[in-house]
Every structure is written in C-alpha cells, then in structure tokens.
Symmetry: C2
Subunit: 264 residues, 2 copies
C-alpha cells in the first residue's frame, strides 16, 4: 500500500438528530456532516469532504446512514472507526468503516433505502421518548392505514409527496415496501406504531408526507382511495400534512457488494 | 369550597434531567423547580413555592419525583395536571396531582424512596441511550457485585457514602433493598445492569457513591468485604468513586396514605 495514496471508505453512522441542524454543513450550525469533517480534519490535518447518502433534516435520526470519503489513512478501517469516535459528540457514532473501491460515492451508488417513522398514540407525554415519536391523541384506524399504505407501493410518480419547491430530474420512485408495525402497549395505555418505507430512492420529505397522509386516513378524515387521487394529482397540495421530523429514522442504505474493496 | 382558600397538592413529576441544572432553582439556569414555579405563576398570577422530596442533581432523571405546593385552585386536580403540562417543556411532565391535607410537605412527610441506577456494559456508544446509562467497558462480575450489594442493606451509618462537605444531622439511614437487575443483551452484545436502592432516606450522592463502589468490586479491584470496611470508616475517602449523574433515576417516593385529603 502506497503510504500517500488516498483510500476510499464507506462509513456507517448512527445519530440522534435532536440537537443538530440536520446532516448538511451550514456555517455556525451544529451538523452531522460538519462534525464528521471536523473529526477527519483533526485526525489527518487535511480538509476532507464527507458525502452522505442523503441529507437528513434537523431532528431526523439515523441508525445506519452511509457516507463516502477519501483520505490518506495508514491504519485499518477498525482503527479509523475508533479514532473518529474519540472526536465525535455523544449523539453521533461511527458504527463501521469499510474500504471501498476508488470513486465510491454514497449518493450515486445507493440502490435502496429504508426509513422508519415512529408514532405514539395516546398515553401521557413521555419525557424519555419525546425526541423519537410523533405523539398523537385520539383514535387511529390502523387497518385503514394499512390498506392506504398498500396504495403507495410500486413504481409511481411521487411528485405529490415531494416538498413544495424541491427540484429533482424525475419524481418517479419505486416504493418496495410500506409496512405498518404495531408495537407494545405502554404502562400508560399508549400504543406504538411504526411505518417503514423502503424504496430505490426518496424525494425530499417523501416519508414524512406519506406518514402525514396515512394519519389523515387513520383519523377517518379521508378514505383509502384518496391515496390514488393524490398520486394522480402530481401536486403537493393534494396530499396530507408533513409529519414532524423527530419521528423519522434512516434505518439502512443499500449498495451493491461491488462497491467494497473486499469484493473479489 | 371557599374559592379563595389555598389548597395543598401532591404533584408527581417525571423528567429527563439531561438539559437541566438539577431540581433546585438557580438564577439564570434551567431547573425543574424553576420551570414548575414558572408554570404555576403563569397559571395563577401568584408566586408559589414548589417543594420537591429531594434535590436531584444536573443530569439526574425522575420517573416519579414528588413535590408539594399550596395554591388557590378552583378546578379539579386533573385540570391542574393538564394546565401545568401546557406550560412545561417537553422534558418535564406532571403525571398526577392529588389534593393533600393542609401542611403536606414533600420532604418532611416522605417515609421512603427508591432509585434506579442504569449501567450499560460493552457494546458500542449508543446515540439514543447515552443520556440514561453509565457506559462501561471490560468485564464486570455481577455475582460479586450482588454479594457486595447485600452488605449495604440495613440500618447503618452511611457517612462514607455521603458527598464530602455535605452536612446532615444524622448520617444513619435504613437501606431496605439494594437489588441488581440484569437486563436484555443488545444487538451489539452490550448488556444492561440496573442497581435499585430503596431506603427511608438518602444522603447526598449516596446512590451514585454506592454504585461507583459496587463497580470497583465488579471489576475485581476490591473484594466484597471492602464494603464493611467502608461503612466502618465513616469517611468518604474510604469508598469508591461517584458514578455519573446520567445513569440515575428517582423511581418513587413513598408517603403515608394519611397525607392525602381523600384519606378518611
């Protein structure tokens, strides 16, 4: 290994988004990308760009965000993990580093992503979990929500579920799964519901807009067929409100095995 | 009910202590007592003192802290709960309000308390749970810790487990239970251990000092018999280090039924 040649890395990162102004670097704001780039600068003395698979908003969390970066590093990937973690705040942790092939790019090479959105229904305000749920009151018809969730599956134009003002070349995405998972009932009779959405890619605010829309159905304000009308409209105004950031977790980002150097 | 007569209330309060400078009011610092008194002032227009069963330190949490206060309130205790919660930050919630007999005092009338201290051993740094555990690495002999925990049970002089400089009339307390509870093993092979301590009352930092001492035994640096030597010494320097605040939860404060107005 030539000691001065930059190597490409795939980093897997978890964070609690509560106290950050989102992923992307912004002047004088605490951001995940900013902390990672700061950590790499302190370790290497170089200014290194860290590219995330997608920009998460302020308050959005990640269990396994993926980022790419290229740096001169003479030690093992495991040592890079340990070194980075000594330089990061407690709400950000690098879970893994793997050596990737030259040119690995966390956005361009991604082939799929999975998000989870967490809802808490009823019960008292939770002082230990309020950062991780959208807390709703009143009844929610989970069966109707589950039927509605089926309607967003498939390759569709999701323009209506994209934040107004966002500008992407194409708004067609392939949603592979939209699963509703009912969790345990808490001491206070609250119940927990997660919406997990998997797709080849996501538009800006897409999961939060799908969840806000499913909740309208769950509350009985709209019927299941409304989802079809929204998709046909190709207009953000047709869909329901945007669910709050705090309930959203980026669970996983998928890549072909061939991006890794260990791939034969 | 005379509309202008002050009524006594017993409030049960939960909080995440991470972002507060502890329970007790301090100028220009966010405190639990300060937020509660501010909420009552906004609701009633009066300056009302809220007395907690004990002062928790910065970073210490409560599942059921108890406080007493006296105020003119023309509505039900349930309405007081709802009104207070509209005025409190998300990390503080009033779980219950009950009308108490005149003169009810959260410190003087308490007959017992239970705390839980949470440890996480091994595994990766948890971005979603770091506020609620003391994260340790290396092996911990839980059986030895359990034997050591038995030695603090009973009516003893706990001066050695009191923070240096604290000044109480008597340092004798009756520890009724010191239970070690092993929790589930996490995905990352971390395991969770809680120490629950119940007593008629606690000295300043007593639980954190007991836990820091038990960890020394668990790490094999000290034997079980060391606990007896510490108790005999009546000197803070004899015991182990103080465990960090973040792992500590006030679980419960007990009072005789007779403090409540509903008591016949």
């Amino acid at each position: 290994m030539n000691a001065n040649v930059a190597r490409s890395f795939k980093l897997t990162i978890a964070y609690d988004g509560t106290c950050f102004s989102g992923w992307q670097v912004q002047p004088n704001q605490p951001t995940i990308q900013g902390h990672l780039q700061g950590a790499l600068q302190r370790l290497t003395g170089e200014s290194i760009q860290v590219i995330g698979s997608g920009r998460t908003d302020a308050g959005v969390h990640a269990r396994a965000q993926v980022a790419s970066c290229s740096l001169v590093w003479r030690d093992s990937p495991e040592h890079l993990v340990r070194a980075l973690n000594t330089q990061l705040p407690e709400a950000i942790v690098v879970c893994a580093a793997e050596e990737a092939n030259k040119g690995f790019h966390a956005i361009r090479d991604a082939i799929g992503k999975r998000y989870r959105y967490q809802l808490k229904i009823g019960g008292v305000r939770g002082v230990f979990d309020y950062r991780y749920h959208w807390h709703l009151h009143g009844k929610l018809d989970v069966d109707q929500m589950r039927l509605a969730a089926q309607r967003v599956i498939g390759e569709r134009d999701f323009r209506s579920f994209q934040a107004a003002g966002a500008d992407r070349k194409t708004t067609v995405r392939n949603v592979r799964a939209c699963d509703l998972v009912v969790g345990p009932v808490g001491d206070d009779q609250a119940f927990y519901l997660s919406v997990e959405v998997e797709a080849d890619g996501f538009l800006y605010n897409m999961v939060r807009n799908i969840v806000g829309t499913l909740v309208e159905v769950g509350r009985g304000k709209q019927t299941v067929d409304w989802i079809d009308q929204i998709l046909i409209a190709c207009n953000r105004d047709a869909a329901g409100p945007t669910a709050p950031a705090r309930g959203l977790f980026l669970l996983r980002v998928d890549y072909p095995c061939s991006v890794l150097k260990s791939h034969a």
